[in-house]
């Protein structure tokens, strides 16, 4: 069996993005990153280099981090995607990885952040108790021009502890009532914990 489409044809791409079925008709040449940003209007996924180096475009494909600038939209037909828009709770409460980036100053300009956050979600699903070297290796496919990486390392460490405490799958949307983060809306919690040891803020 085979599906072939011509050069000027548009192809129907159906995917599940952050749990929601989405569809659009796109030219075969449409990059997945452009499909998300332009066709689905999900502009949280950033595009830095478009040649696979910076990692800003990282999303999860069936739960594993990939670079969306190196895939064609038509290649992911029928599959499940998770983007940064799918992480925070419906009421806006930040996902533990996002909260940790904020707490630990894991971002400055924020351009690289969606990519780092998605990489961290994929990484922490595989490695629940990472040491510093494992975090460096896990995040090695993302570049940041601002932070110097120390805050990012601390953020991933904090998130690992927070996720262990709550038992939540880092690749799914944050459910505040299910864990220790209830009542912690984005941007309003106290000063950074600093130790990254996974203590639950009171």
């Amino acid at each position: 069996m085979s599906v072939t489409a011509g050069a000027h044809e548009r192809i129907e791409v159906e995917v599940t993005v952050n749990g929601v079925p989405r569809a659009a008709e796109v030219p075969p040449r449409r990059l997945l990153s452009d499909f998300l940003r332009h066709d689905l209007r999900l502009t949280g996924t950033h595009v830095g280099c478009e040649h696979g180096v910076c990692g800003a475009c990282t999303i999860l494909l069936d739960g594993a981090p990939i670079r969306s600038c190196l895939a064609f939209a038509v290649s992911v037909h029928g599959r499940e995607l998770t983007t940064v828009e799918g992480l925070a709770a419906d009421d806006g409460t930040l996902h533990p990885v996002q909260a940790a980036f904020q707490d630990q100053h894991g971002l400055q300009c924020g351009y690289c952040t969606p990519g780092f956050v998605m990489s961290a979600c994929g990484f922490l699903a595989e490695t629940t108790e990472p040491d510093d070297d494992e975090i460096r290796e896990g995040m090695s496919g993302n570049l940041c021009r601002c932070t110097g990486y120390a805050g990012i390392l601390a953020a991933v460490k904090q998130a690992a502890g927070d996720l262990r405490a709550s038992g939540a799958d880092p690749r799914s949307q944050h459910q505040p009532e299910d864990d220790a983060f209830a009542g912690r809306p984005g941007g309003e919690h106290g000063p950074a914990g600093g130790d990254g040891g996974g203590e639950v803020p009171s």
């Binding site: 069996m1 085979s2 599906v3 072939t4 489409a5 011509g6 050069a7 044809e9 192809i11 030219p27 075969p28 040449r29 990059l31 478009e50 040649h51 696979g52 180096v53 990692g55 990282t58 494909l61 594993a64 981090p65 990939i66 670079r67 600038c69 190196l70 895939a71 064609f72 038509v74 290649s75 037909h77 990489s119 994929g122 990484f123 460096r136 290796e137 896990g138 090695s140 496919g141 993302n142």
Partner: protein, 279 residues
């Protein structure tokens, strides 16, 4: 740019026969980079991800077959017991996002002299499986790789996988680059102390127009090794490193100088051998 998305090898070969200039697309980590940089404008793309026969691995008659669509992540996580050296090589490739997408078939298709699976595959005398409407053939990797980014693959052919013998014994793969992650090899070295056949197998990457091996170095160290104790005299280890370095034909480019590459591969060879010996 029309795109075909076949689900089996027959349909893939039909699509390829219908447009022999088509670009085959596996994980896209080489091809889409070329497209985005406008170095390649595919007339037609045949996407392989859905072709079921290209996935997975199996063992028949003591030979292992790895499908072309096997990703680095699969090698790293699922095949580390079966092919430890290849798993070591896979762990050095790019970054997690690249390893989740990039495939063995793509590394073979690109045939860069710095392709990181190739030294180990060469050391193992791997054969590349090719399918075409004329029938299947398998080509020893050494003959498949004909030059930098050029192969013996014919336009109508699809790489379906690689076949290799199953051998026992310690193995090691390591590479050198300017940083730890996300680097193309400046030099890469693979070694297998094949205790089944009592011979040392090697492969060297990024130090010649294709990956290469030094038959002289292999022969000498095979003789110098105490195969029961898995030990080797110091002077034979040094000689091994020198002989490997001498067998290279590196170039100077933006990544490194020829001299450094030659030096580096000799150091890697000695270290890799030491790692495989019992101390």
């Amino acid at each position: 740019m029309p795109i075909s998305r076949p689900t089996d090898v027959t349909a893939t070969l039909d699509a390829l026969a219908a447009s022999p200039d088509a670009d085959l697309l596996a994980g896209g980590t080489d091809l889409v980079v070329e497209v985005n940089l406008d170095r390649r404008r595919p007339e037609h793309v045949i996407a392989l991800r859905r072709v079921t026969e290209l996935a997975g691995h199996d063992t028949t008659d003591g030979r292992l077959r790895l499908g072309a669509n096997v990703t680095y992540s699969e090698v790293e996580h699922d095949l580390a017991q079966l092919v430890p050296g290849l798993a070591m090589a896979a762990r050095t490739v790019g970054s997690p996002q690249i390893r989740n997408a990039g495939t063995l078939g793509g590394n073979l298709g690109t045939a860069s002299p710095a392709g990181d699976t190739l030294p180990w595959l060469l050391a193992m005398d791997a054969e590349v499986e090719l399918a075409s409407p004329e029938g299947d053939r398998s080509v020893p990797l050494a003959n498949f790789l004909t030059g930098p980014k050029s192969t013996a693959r014919r336009p109508a052919e699809l790489i379906t996988g690689v076949r290799l013998p199953r051998v026992e014994g310690p193995q090691h793969v390591s590479k050198i680059g300017p940083r730890n992650a996300m680097v193309i090899s400046v030099a890469c070295f693979a070694i297998v102390l094949d205790t089944t056949n009592r011979r040392v197998r090697t492969g060297m990457g990024a130090v010649g127009p294709t990956v290469l091996r030094s038959p002289d170095a292999e022969r000498a160290v095979t003789q110098a090794l105490d195969w029961d104790a898995l030990t080797c005299p110091e002077d034979a280890i040094d000689a091994f490193g020198r002989a490997c370095a001498e067998a290279t034909a590196p170039i100077t480019d933006h990544r490194s100088s020829a001299e450094y590459r030659r030096h580096a591969v000799g150091v890697l060879a000695r270290r890799a051998l030491r790692r495989c010996l019992s101390t």
